[in-house]
């Protein structure tokens, strides 16, 4: 074979290699697009799975909460009622004993049992014990009310609602708390009307605002804004606290999850807010734009009429 033959063969092989490379590139391009599509679908599936898990948690804890609330409510009702009556009885009893003790016509010997140290201590402690017990039962009643709210047993009709009015009402109710602890910046620009249960929306707004106040540093900033976005009303409630730690982000809408000390929070606030916005109003409630040091923003989206 001559050099010329080798050159021809070399050029032929080189052309074949270029063709192979082009084929490989075409397949690589196809794989790239398919991979991108798979990643997109996978992401969608993961989000849907998270939503389903969240929904399932809400449903199961909802029915559990409904049952517990029902079972607790009756004994709680008569306990509160009886204790209130008992409180009045005790008042009458203490007054009567005091009358006898003050009565000069009764002999000291007859009064002696009423003047013993033990009886004096009982008479002093009894009213406080009853008041503390009543306070405790009132706290239980509040928890049961929250549980019922979460179970949404008393759904009311939706009416034409302006979220700005709801927020103004909520801010008025919380005015003293807000004034004492944070600097409020409100900018209510939304103009759209939505169909909503304004009482429940107030409950959500109050919960988110109080959470923000709780987490804010003293005289921190609280931002409440509304705006229209296409056919939706967008409500942002933001603070400049420490933000939501990464490790608890997945849990914040879970019933009974709380970072507050035992006795200070039931852990139902955000889960109730979630159920009211998502289930009752077909809206969205999410934590956006957060990070340590830059605070947290809770965003609500509600569809306009």
């Amino acid at each position: 074979m001559t050099d010329s033959d080798y050159l021809i063969a070399y050029k032929r092989e080189k052309a074949a290699r270029l063709t192979s490379e082009k084929l490989l590139e075409a397949v690589t391009r196809e794989v790239y697009f398919k991979n991108a599509e798979l990643e997109r679908v996978n992401q969608e599936l993961r989000e849907q799975q998270q939503a389903l898990i969240q929904q399932e948690k809400m449903a199961s804890v909802g029915s559990l909460a409904s049952g517990i609330a029902h079972e607790i409510n009756n004994p709680l009702g008569y306990s509160l009622s009886n204790l209130s009556v008992l409180s009045e009885y005790i008042h009458e009893l203490v007054t009567a004993i005091q009358t006898v003790r003050d009565d000069s016509s009764v002999t000291d010997a007859a009064k002696a049992p009423l003047n013993s140290d033990a009886v004096i201590e009982v008479l002093e402690d009894m009213p406080d014990l009853v008041v503390e017990s009543l306070d405790g039962l009132q706290a239980v009643k509040q928890i049961v009310t929250d549980l019922r709210g979460f179970a949404r047993t008393n759904t009311a009709e939706l009416t034409d609602t302006n979220v700005n009015d709801c927020l103004t009402t909520t801010m008025n109710v919380l005015a003293s708390e807000l004034k004492r602890k944070v600097v409020l910046h409100d900018d209510l620009q939304s103009t759209l009307i939505i169909e909503a249960n304004s009482g429940k929306l107030n409950q959500v707004f109050a919960n988110l605002i109080l959470n923000a106040v709780h987490i804010s540093p003293s005289q921190g900033n609280l931002y409440i804004t509304t705006r229209d976005d296409s056919n939706q009303v967008v409500i942002d409630i933001s603070d400049d606290g420490a933000g939501v730690p990464e490790e608890i982000k997945a849990e914040i809408f879970t019933p009974f999850f709380t970072t507050k000390p035992v006795g200070e929070g039931t852990g139902l606030g955000l889960s109730i807010a979630y159920a009211i916005i998502v289930d009752d109003h077909q809206g969205a409630l999410e934590l956006v734009d957060d990070g340590p040091g830059s605070g947290a923003t809770f965003r609500i989206r509600l569809n306009a009429i």
């Binding site: 050159l7 070399y10 270029l18 490379e21 082009k22 490989l24 590139e25 690589t28 391009r29 790239y32």
Partner: protein, 178 residues
């Protein structure tokens, strides 16, 4: 450096100096010389090849790299005509290097390390490209611009200031149409 660049260098040497010369060059640096387009090779191997070619052909390295850039453009056009034909003029093509061409390169060659060409339009007929690359191959970019200008049958002036080789953090390549 991806094998496609090595292959184009081999084509240039074979066409201009012959196959025997390419074989000699490869043997000088003890390179296997069987480059596959999608495979990533050490940058140093390309620089070694350029160094040997420069010495053997008595061509200053900077001139050789510029000539390689000029040769590279039609070689790219042969392989990816649709990318080049997407633009009808020189400056819009240069402006699309990062946003279109390098995006496509990364689809075809995952892991490719492409330089940055940040575009800044000075006027309809003047485009500043800010070139950033740890390889400092701004002369290759100049050669590619020259090759592209020939492709579009366009004359231009190039101002190269500042330059990575003079301590700047990027090269400014101001291309002005004549």
């Amino acid at each position: 450096m991806k094998g496609i660049v090595m292959n184009i260098l081999a084509d240039m040497v074979e066409q201009q100096f012959g196959m025997s010369e390419w074989n000699e060059i490869l043997s000088e640096i003890d390179a296997a010389g069987a480059y596959t387009a999608a495979v990533l090779y050490e940058d140093q191997e390309l620089l070694d090849l350029v160094g040997v070619i420069s010495r053997r052909q008595s061509i200053p390295v900077e001139d050789l790299i510029f000539a390689f850039g000029e040769f590279m453009f039609p070689a790219f056009y042969e392989r990816y005509p649709e990318l080049i034909d997407a633009e009808a003029h020189l400056l819009p093509l240069l402006a699309s290097i990062d946003s279109v061409i390098h995006v496509e390169v990364n689809k075809l060659y995952p892991g490719a390390v492409t330089p940055v060409f940040e575009e800044e339009w000075r006027s309809d007929s003047a485009l500043l490209l800010k070139y950033r690359s740890k390889r400092n191959l701004c002369r290759l970019a100049e050669g590619l611009i020259s090759g592209a200008a020939k492709h579009f049958d366009t004359t231009y002036e190039l101002e190269h200031e500042p330059c990575l080789h003079r301590g700047a953090d990027h090269c400014g390549l101001l291309v002005t149409l004549r």
